[in-house]
Symmetry: C2
Amino acid sequence: MNNAGIPAATDQVRRQNTALILRSLRMNGPSTRADLAKRTGLAKATVGTIIGQLDLAGAVVEDQAQASGRGRPGRPVVLTGERTIGVGLEINVDYMSAVALDLSGRERLVETRPLAAGATPEDLVSFAVALTQRLEDDGHTIVGVTAAVPGLVDRAAGIVSSAPNLHWSQVPLRDLLAARLSPGAVVSIDNDANCAALAEGSRGAAVGSPSALYLTGTVGVGAGILVEGQVLRGGSGFAGEVGHMPIGDPRVACGCGRSGCWEASIGLRAMLTAVGMAESGTPLETARAVADRAQDDASVRDGLDSLANWLGNGIAVLSNILNPSIVILGGYFVPIGTYLVPQIREIVDAKVLAAPLQETEICLSGLGIHAAATGAAEEALSVVYAGAI
Amino acid sequence: MNNAGIPAATDQVRRQNTALILRSLRMNGPSTRADLAKRTGLAKATVGTIIGQLDLAGAVVEDQAQASGRGRPGRPVVLTGERTIGVGLEINVDYMSAVALDLSGRERLVETRPLAAGATPEDLVSFAVALTQRLEDDGHTIVGVTAAVPGLVDRAAGIVSSAPNLHWSQVPLRDLLAARLSPGAVVSIDNDANCAALAEGSRGAAVGSPSALYLTGTVGVGAGILVEGQVLRGGSGFAGEVGHMPIGDPRVACGCGRSGCWEASIGLRAMLTAVGMAESGTPLETARAVADRAQDDASVRDGLDSLANWLGNGIAVLSNILNPSIVILGGYFVPIGTYLVPQIREIVDAKVLAAPLQETEICLSGLGIHAAATGAAEEALSVVYAGAI
DNA sequence: AGTATTAGTACGAGTCTTGAACTAAGTCAA
DNA sequence: TTGACTTAGTTCAAGACTCGTACTAATACT
């Protein structure tokens, strides 16, 4: 077996068409078999066969027949899969989050725990074990678990190569989780910005977008880059480390030990220096305090202008390279976003070659602090929609 | 039919496995049916059936049986497809090129024509018509024709949106070509750097690489970004315009009308300013003259050091974003590359966050001035390898 | 000369989808 | 009220494809 590809047989046909029908139900909601046939292009007979199978598997139920005008009333098929769960986890400096989604994408559980400094992998593993045990005791089947971590994540090897803010290095997190969780679930780990981008792609601002760039804003700044709904990973999975592009103020030192990193000019600390304020709580709380002050304090607004300039320049760099349809600002950028976006918009229009030909939307994330855990849960469910289960 | 995907049936299975076998033959050269079965994971019986079909279609021939040690000697199957042709075209400021590849990737025709300033789309169309007519008169079947153009190419619409160096704007090149070429060929157009990157991915330095970045070096600078062998296109197909990242010397004006573009600091003209020399012929000839002078002139070497610094900084930016396994310098960078690469290497090692974890290879393209036309020809053939024909 | 090994083909069973035919369940018009 | 029409859903047989097994083919080895 070489890397020219994988052989195909008729069982792949069934798997592919099953996944197609699941995706169609996910996208369009309850549908009759006849609707599904029209939408997917499959024969009515095929749809009927596959729905029968999904019914047996408990992934769909049939609703009451509904009058539809002339002709026999159709019986809508509803994607439930209430018992089929994907679990997303996120660990960050001062909190851990978990989100459990069922097959239709509904949240079955959302939970956040504060963390003291010095979080260990064992904290996340224990959290995950307790939570998944509860779900399983309730009769759920967990098909996948994905953990989101802020840092360089070698997804293929299942190792957190480096997460400076957590003081983690070379942590085999996937295997630590897999050893303690039920054998049936597919366990994976990913970078937190990548996961948040996935959430935007499935239920946020990037739904339907061919190409999207998501920027996390905390002390550190990272990006998740979506290409046709898939994360751009790079040669070793380390794509998206935009915070360390050497395009920031060359006089400013970065937490990574270099000077001139973009992150050192646009991260939370740089913003606070620019507006002349101090931290007050979490990054989001701090940003809200800054937004409040900006309403009456011109020097704070000046500081935010300066931040927007650095931010806009980096986004122009990224836009020339990636040509994203949409740029989404997340994290601490959201509460102060109204002071940033107009200026970013101007810079992008001025400095991106393709700007006259394509309008790049720039917006603020609406997904809140559970974005990464939600995207991780979507990723944990992706095995079903890809037809692997 | 919606965008949840396309339905599958058993005819797709055959197509997929046929393409798999074609790709395996392309990658591994002449192989027995038993070898192909081992490599692809398909059953011997299936391989035999598919090869029989390809034999009938004239895509393969059987070679002499060869002794192989114990057991029955195998009869190698050779991918010929001599009569199946993909044509790649390139138009640039002072030349047009064409490359015709057969199904096994062998060059069947390579041709270059000088161009006077003011090239029109009609020049390329006439060139293409004459050339494809010749191929067809020789009994060849052209499955695809792809034209590479330096500029912003809207591939989906088949329009060259903007090619400043050619003074083209909104040229419907795909349709102009399709109207004059045989109806059987699939016609497409693409950006020249994207095409050159494809050539590197199929027969150059990026073969087998999960992620590659190719930089063209002429007056303009652009990039082709490969992700798993596919070009990264972005929301409207304009990804890769790295020359206009605003990370160059802010005092220097760029041909695009802005200041501070990377291209204005690393393009041919910037290099000549830095080394204090004048153009002498084509960009490649000029670069060769610079390389010769650099051997004994320290000020030229200083100028090249300065160029390498700008280049290295931009490559560090790109590497933090994209995490390429390999960076390939093409065009005028090649003759002077030995003066550039060591310093680029140092900058990348110093400024890329993932550098301690992944070695990014930096090398010079070996494909010469036909890189873009060759990549375009590979792209023209891709319909076969994807199983569409 | 017989055995072992590897290449390649023939054959029947299994999976999957499809279109046509049919049944089911309504609306509409005479 | 009845029959025609329309749309939903199921049944059935045919077609496409792959597979494993059994077999034939063609060598090397003992």
